[in-house]
């Protein structure tokens, strides 16, 4: 009756979210007095998961390309094989895609956006965000098998001295009509979902030609770039960078908002970030009320200085 966890890898390497959900699964297993089994797809070094509390890895090698229906069915088979009562997944786009299918397959209640280890294991209850980060709720899952979706960057990665045994797992593969035609993905950039730091620009930057300093700042910090809704609506930046209620959610350690006033829809989408810095000329901008640190000043003066100071800082702390 182990706890099952879906640990995603990209080109064979585990994503940070995978280590985070492995850590989470370990916490659940400790509460329930059981072990953790991870399911990976074509991981290069699946045994690495032992460092995060995983006892056993089922490494699936007979399918490669992500397909939500097929992957959900593989996880279902793994859960049944292991007699898992709790299945843990991340909040990546792919995990959120397959989790509801998996929940139906296992006839399991599913709670998403969970931010802490279970409050209780009987009844099984978890704390999750709701109302787009304006509240939390404690949700009880009343089914025999439970699916828990863990928010990115909420529980954290917890190292654990252990070792994991690795088994090849070749489940039967269900069929799917859905086939990937093309993928458009920047491989040289940090994605908003995976980033520890996000640098975001708004209409205060006056035009797309001024994004050079945003990109440079992001570069210095190893951050992802993002933008407000008006900026993406105006076509200054691609839609994929739009963060906020109808865009991508952000749950980074540090969110730097430059020339963004902080409309409620924007704040809803970025509130889960731990530390927020706002740079804006208008001291009345609502974002200052939601931020931890603020600079009332012109982005065109403040950002280049910040880049210089950060470069000096990096040089000293390298």
């Amino acid at each position: 009756m182990s706890v099952l966890v879906y640990t995603e890898s990209e080109q064979g390497t585990f994503k940070k979210a995978a280590l985070e959900v492995a850590s989470y699964a370990k916490a659940v297993a400790s509460q329930m007095g059981t072990t953790v089994t991870a399911v990976t797809f074509n991981a290069n070094d699946a045994s690495e998961l032992g460092n995060y509390g995983v006892d056993k890895v089922l490494n699936v090698t007979n399918t490669n390309e992500f397909n939500a229906k097929i992957y959900a069915d593989v996880l279902k088979q793994a859960a049944e094989k292991e007699g898992a009562k709790v299945v843990v997944v991340s909040s990546s786009a792919n995990a959120k895609y397959l989790a509801p299918l998996l929940a139906v397959g296992l006839n399991a209640g599913y709670a998403s956006n969970v931010i802490e280890a279970p409050v209780n294991t009987s009844p099984f209850s978890v704390k999750r965000t709701a109302f787009t980060n304006k509240a939390f709720n404690i949700t009880e899952i009343n089914t025999d098998v439970k699916v828990v979706g863990v928010s990115n960057n909420a529980f954290g990665v917890v190292e654990n001295s252990g070792s994991a045994s690795v088994e090849d797992f070749s489940p039967s593969l269900t069929s799917s009509d859905t086939k990937v035609q093309s993928v458009d993905k920047a491989t040289d950039k940090v994605s908003i979902a995976d980033a520890d730091i996000v640098v975001s620009g708004g209409r205060g930057l006056k035009g797309p030609e001024n994004w050079g300093m945003i990109e440079e700042l992001a570069d210095v910090l190893g951050a992802a770039t993002a933008c407000s809704k008006p900026v993406s609506d105006l076509g200054w930046r691609p839609h994929s960078e739009h963060v906020g209620q109808t865009g991508k959610p952000v749950a980074s350690n540090l969110y730097i908002a430059i020339g963004i006033s902080g409309a409620i829809q924007h704040l809803a989408g970025v509130n889960a970030s731990k530390v927020k810095v706002v740079i804006n000329t208008d001291p009345e901008a609502p974002f200052f009320k939601a931020a931890d640190y603020g600079v009332v000043g012109d982005a065109f003066e403040v950002v280049p200085q910040l880049i210089e100071k950060l470069k000096e800082f990096k040089a000293q702390n390298a």
């Binding site: 139906v104 109302f131 458009d184």
Partner: protein, 248 residues
Amino acid sequence: MKILVCISHVPDTTSKINFTEGDTKFDTNGVQFVINPNDEFGLTRAMWFKEKQGASVDVVNVGGAETEPTLRKALAIGADSAIRVNTPATDGFAVAKQLAKVVQDGGYDLVIAGRESIDYNGGMVPGMLAGLTDVNFVNNCIGLDVDGSNATATREIDGGKETVSTALPLVVGGQKGLVEESDLRIPNMRGIMMARKKPLNVVEPVDANAETAAVKFEKPAPKGDVKLVSPDNIDELVSLLHNEAKVI
């Protein structure tokens, strides 16, 4: 093509979020309810299918009579008819089970539901509905074309997007990108008048237990004041981020 658009009835984004009955219930007092933003993009995309390719568009909500104004708004935007499943929306799984019955009875080719509602943010109804009705599913859908029984859909992935070929019947979890914000339609007077005469069918629920229950709500602790740094002293900001916030 028969299209069903799932409409969630949610508090407007600017609503104050409060709870009652010992923090066990959302306080709807004084709250303005709207069509869930993620559903609105799907509704407009459905109208385009209707106008450009020919389709019927029904809208559905699982909820009490208080959600009918939201369904009427969808009718005013241009949907042909509305269905309300007469039971409170308890959890995502239970809602998906109710919707599955509507989809099976109606023989829909395409179901568009928002990727998540802005109240409970479960993000599970579209996928569960696809799973329960055993049809194709594309989540976080930002582009959709249908040609006969073939569909091409684009979905957002972490760090980019992916285009897939798939087939009807299909459920999509929709969001901005299906259409743009500027494409969204505001009901006009004629639409509102016509909506009054369009059918809004109330159907009784099937037996479906909620598998989860939100038993308690909490609000985040009040935030401390922002710490302002002078634009002439950016060194201090770097130092605060390093020593105090420990994020760099």
